[in-house]
Structures are given as C-alpha cells and as structure tokens.
Amino acid sequence: MSYIVPIGPYHPALEEPIHAKLYTEGEVIKDAEVFVGYNHRGIEKLATERNAIQTLVLVERVCGICSHSHAFTYALCVEDINGLEVPKRGDYIRVITAELERLHSHFLWAGVACHIIGHDSMFMHIWDERELVMDLLEELTGNRVNYAMCTVGGARRDISDDLRRRLLEACDKLKAPLDRIAEIALTDKTIAMRTKGVGVLTREDALRLGAIGPHARASGVDVDVRRDSPYSAYGDFEFNVPVVDSGDVFARVVVRVLECYESIKIIRQALENLPEGPINLGTKLPKIKEGQTVKRHEAPRGQLSYMLMGDGSFNNYRISIHVPSYKNTPTVPHMLRNNTVADAGLIIASIDPCFSCLDR
C-alpha cells in the first residue's frame, strides 16, 4: 500500500521547522521531498540597512547555536574589504571561541540524536557534560548563546592569565567525560542498531550534491576549510580532520565525536601560545570600502560563507549568507530512500540541520 506521510513543519523529532513529504510503500520510504522557508526573516535585506557594528549583532541572531561563526565570518569580510590586519591575540581568542562553539554544538547534536533514538539516559548525560562547555563559554564571553566576542578588527574581550589557566584546566577536565561519551557512543549496542547502515549517503552522492562539513566527512569526503583554506589563526595550529567512509548515521556520530578531540587540541594550542598584545584594532564604526569579497569559515556544521559588498558608506550594500544546512538539506531525500518511516526523524537530524540558519 502506498502512502504519503507528512513530517513537520512542527514535529517532536524536529528542533526547528521543516516539512518533509515521505512517499512510502508500507513502512519503506521510496521517495521524499523537503520544503524549507518557515523561518525566513529577510536578514540579508535587513543587513542592507545596517552598519558593520549593527550587522555583527544582527548576523549573530541568524542562529543561536553557531552565532559566533556568523559574526566571525562577517567580520572577516569587513576586515578584508577594508584591508585591516587583526592583532594575533584577537585572532587566537576568536578561534578559541569558535572551537568552544563547535564543542557545544556537537554535544548538543549528540544529545538530540540520542533522544531521537530513545536513549534518553545518554541524552541527559551528554547534555550534563555540555554544561561544562557552556560554563566555559559564559566565563569567556559573558554569554551562553549570542557571545558578542567579535568586533571589526579583533575580539571584544580579553583572556586574563587566571582565565587562561582555568580554561587550560578545563581542557583536561573535558577529556574524561568525552572519553566516556565516545566509549558509549562507539560501543553501545542500542546506538549501533539504530544508526549503523541507516540513512546512507555515498561518497559519490555527497560529492554530486555538494554536501559539506562533518556530514560530508562521514561520507569519505576529506574537506575542511580550516585546513584547506586557512584563515584567521587556523594556520598556526596542528589538528587532524577525521574522515569516515561508511556514510551512515553512525559515521556522522563517529566524525563528530572525533572532532571534539581535535577542537580541544586547537583550544589547548591557542591557550598555550596565546600571543601578547592588543586584542583588537580599536576600530569604532568603519565605513565599508567599495568592493566585494567572499569569506569562508568551518562552522560546527560545515562551511559557512559570506559575500559582502561595500559601497563606501557605513552600511552594507549587499550581504549574502550561505550556511552549511543550505548544502546539506538537499541530501536528505537521497538518504531517506529505502529506509523506514521510523528512522526518518533520525536521518533528518543526522545532518545536524539548522533551518534558522538555512532560511536566514
């Protein structure tokens, strides 16, 4: 018997609104369509009526989870057009914030994924450990969600020696819970049964559809902007880019768990080698010079790109924001095919989608 099963835009397995239509034969999904746009806020349009400092505040609100990534990438654009050289210490602080953001984002995703597969004790355990990262972010930036750490020309808050010491201690503290989470995630029978062989995206499909970030790396595509096209201070640090080639939901779990270790490694290197000097250029309100640029940042979910056009005034002439979910969401119908309806929520969530980001 054929059915069309609607999921969303509002559904318990979805943290944000998306509508999926599943065309099924009995329990098996034969085809699927996804519909987005439920969070479209016209942010690109709003940005054309704002100056650079106001835009930093605006773009941080594109997404509550990767807010720093948005401000970071926009600031890189303004600095490039205006020819500003950010002080090294400012660059390092931005990177530390970005990697802490990746940690909290991956912990958040892992918790949600466990909740969807019905492993609620693991969900609560992961989110409990995530609090340690959230506390660090709060101590570093003063905020738990929109960190406001970036300004044009550097970072907004410095790291004192005392905070630096405590952050380094926290890197050690994080290792034990992460080891525990990794051990459970990679060996637990329930997690394996619900994720292995489910929602497979082959390497060929990932390349064909343009998948990016951990989602692509779980399908054997070895891409990471931090390594392939270094920016800010990323060229100063040694880290690995975990790549797994099975392409299923389990592979996406493995990649994100391994990435957490790499983020801790980057944070540790940045803290141990934190340069002396100013954290920013003291830029007040810059005019955005006439010109155009594109900057890319490896956000927690993959490559985030910003295009900025300036016309010599204080306001942006045009910004164009393209987020990882923009590239990864179109892969969802391909992953859903020949899986069961019961796994649909998990497969959609496995790309770590952010529809607020996507819709802007």
Partner: protein
C-alpha cells in the same frame, strides 16, 4: 595568516555552462551563487568556486536570464538559483520553479518578480503592515 583570497573574473553568460563543466571535472566545490542589482540598476550574478585557498568568483553583468547549471551541480546549484529567482526575479533557463523555496506559498503569484530584495524595505513594510495591502489588494496580517 590569512590565505583565503577572493578573485573576481568577468565572463559572458554563454561561458557559464562550460565553466561549470570544467569546474566539476576538476572536482571544484561550488561555494555559492549570488545575485544582486547594482546601484546603477544593472543586474549581476556571480558563481563562486573554491579553488583552495582562493575563491574564484565569475561574474555576469547586465543580464537577467542565465543558463541553469543544475544538471552539473544538482541541488547545490538549483537551490541558490531558485532563491535568486524568488528574491530578484532573475531567470535560470531549465530550472524548475513550480514550487516555492523560501517565500510563503501565498506569495507564489509574485515568484519571479523579485519582490523581497528589489522592493525598498519601506514599501515592503507598508505592504505587509496590518491594514496594508498585499499585491492583490488583500489585507495581510
């Protein structure tokens, strides 16, 4: 150390497809397609490819109809093409625009007219304010 570079290259619209084919063959990632209208009113679209660590940005100026590269880059191309069609009204030949991407279903009738990005913000606010009128003259909340 900032190795990311941006390189602008102007091309004609009949070079868009061969370029996309070449980039795909070389395994280049399509970073994004952007559309906008310049201050002097000329439309412009750019196709950005990652030739790491450089972003090569290919621009076509003064056209509103372009070939779709959806057959080459699949949804990585068709989604931004559909977005540009909705928000700016530019046409991509061969692109299926029978369904909306970002705009609400009830704005399908304005699809392809570039209402959002082209209309000045003040006019949009007036049109969509309580008591204001939609393009068909209906009251919108």
């Amino acid at each position: 150390m900032n190795l990311q570079e941006y390189k602008r290259i102007d091309i004609k619209k009949d070079e868009v497809l061969p370029l996309a084919e070449r980039m795909k063959k070389e395994g280049r990632f399509l970073v994004m397609i952007h559309g906008w209208i310049n201050k002097d009113g000329t439309p412009e679209v750019s196709w950005d490819y990652a030739v790491d660590p450089v972003v090569e940005s290919y621009h076509v100026v003064g056209e509103t109809v372009f070939p779709s590269i959806g057959d080459i880059y699949c949804e990585a191309a068709t989604w931004p093409e559909r977005e540009i069609n909705e928000l700016f009204g530019f046409t991509f030949e061969g692109l299926d625009v029978s369904k909306r991407l970002f705009l609400p279903e009830d704005m399908l009738e304005t699809q392809g007219k570039g209402q959002i990005m082209v209309t000045p913000l003040k006019e949009l606010v007036e049109k969509n304010a309580v008591g204001g009128s939609s393009p068909e003259g209906e009251v919108k909340a």
